[in-house]
């Protein structure tokens, strides 16, 4: 699937599940903070994406994808602030994050709040490498 098709499929799912306008579901909008998605919304979005693209993503896959296999105690420090190694990883999956701005402030549980429509589309793209069409 072409990248442009993936982002439209994700945007369509977000619009359908959250009842926001297409403009609001912009690639740089964060799902939780900007668009107010809750856990049931996320589930709805993921099922809609599965239906339209054939790419199956579980809600629990999200944090795994973000963390890129880095163990919790390396991803963040003892106060659960994202480590340097964690920031490096985030650059790959959430490139919009300004590492300098977030260094020393970004709490592990707040990372998901920065996850954008585009980040989700990238994840779908990556997962759909073999399954998508």
């Amino acid at each position: 699937m072409a990248e442009s098709q993936t982002i439209s499929a994700v945007q369509e799912a977000v619009v359908g599940a959250l009842g926001v306008s297409e403009d609001e579901a912009a690639p740089d909008a964060t799902l939780m903070d900007d668009l107010g998605a809750e856990s049931i919304d996320l589930l709805d979005i993921l099922f809609r994406i599965e239906r339209s693209t054939g790419v199956k993503i579980q809600a629990s896959d999200l944090s795994e994808y973000i963390q890129g296999g880095i163990p919790d105690d390396e991803f963040s420090d003892e106060n659960e602030i994202i480590s340097e190694k964690g920031l490096e990883q985030l650059k790959k999956v959430m490139p919009q994050i300004d590492a300098d701005e977030q260094r020393g402030n970004l709490h592990a549980e707040n990372v998901i709040k920065l996850f954008t429509v585009q980040n989700l589309a990238d994840m779908v793209e990556q997962r759909g490498g073999s399954a998508g069409s």
Binding site: A17, I40, L43, D44, F47, E50, R51
Partner: protein, 256 residues
């Protein structure tokens, strides 16, 4: 036929209301998985009856009170019928006793089968129903879940749990294209309520029912079929009373 091309799983379908539901769904064109726990011969009969009427049905063995079994029941139904669109959670037991005499296992067993079965099978169909964004779930509850009756505290509590679960499931699943409703029979003369009818042939109960008749299992099945099918497409979370008016009444009374 309203359910042509659809597939349905009915739990506890070897006898009583479940059997009538299986037959009614099949009569509307649905392919039916007849679940049973111990009544294999009876379940086979239900399938034979449906087939002789030109319908399609299969038996699926399993105890809905066990989650793994429920998963297997659902998987086999999907596999054998080639899909699944309707789940009727009907399997139920009773262990009537006064609370004073009731053993802890009496309420736990009833809760495990009646409410546990509803939870287990509902959860087991979700991946499939949510993926296809289509599905109807009908829980066979009871008027006992709304009102009190001597000797039925455990059964009534399990049905009350089903009613509450029906509402919550309806709210959570609506956006995924899944409707969840319940039918609440009053008194239908099945094996399950035999004890209630033994005393005086049920006369004492009949006098308390405005319609003065027990529900036939077909009358209950008719409501279940309506809730399972397209005619109830805008209904979800409803607790539909099928009780001959018994729940409507304050008590037996007349002005004079």
């Amino acid at each position: 036929m309203k359910l042509e091309g659809k597939s349905a799983l009915v739990t506890g379908a070897s006898r009583g209301i479940g059997r009538a539901v299986a037959a009614a769904l099949a009569a509307e064109g649905a392919a039916v998985a007849v679940n049973y726990r111990s009544g294999k011969a009876q379940a086979d009969e239900v399938v034979k009856e449906i087939e002789s009427n030109g319908g399609k049905a299969v038996t699926v063995e399993g105890d809905v009170s066990e989650y793994e079994a429920a998963q297997r029941i659902v998987e086999q139904s999907i596999e054998q019928l080639g899909g699944l669109h309707v789940l009727v959670n009907n399997a139920g037991i009773s262990r009537d006793a006064l609370i004073f005499n009731m053993e802890p296992t009496d309420w736990l067993d009833v809760m495990r089968v009646n409410f546990g079965g509803v939870f287990n099978c509902t959860k087991a169909v979700l991946q499939h129903f949510m993926s296809q964004r289509e599905g109807t779930i009908v829980n066979v509850s009871s008027m006992m879940g709304l009102r009190g009756w001597t000797g039925e505290s455990n059964y009534a509590a399990s049905k009350g749990a089903i009613n509450a679960f029906t509402r919550c499931a309806a709210v959570e699943l609506a956006r995924f294209g899944i409707r969840v409703n319940a039918a609440l029979p009053g008194f239908a003369p099945t094996d399950l309520v035999q004890g209630l009818l033994e005393k005086d042939g049920g006369k004492g109960i009949l006098r308390q029912i405005p319609m003065r008749t027990f529900a036939t299992v077909e009358e209950v099945a008719g409501v279940v079929t309506f809730l399972a099918g397209p005619d109830s497409s805008y209904m979800t979370g409803a607790l539909v009373e099928v009780d001959g008016g018994v729940g409507t009444m304050l008590g037996i009374g007349a002005p004079l």
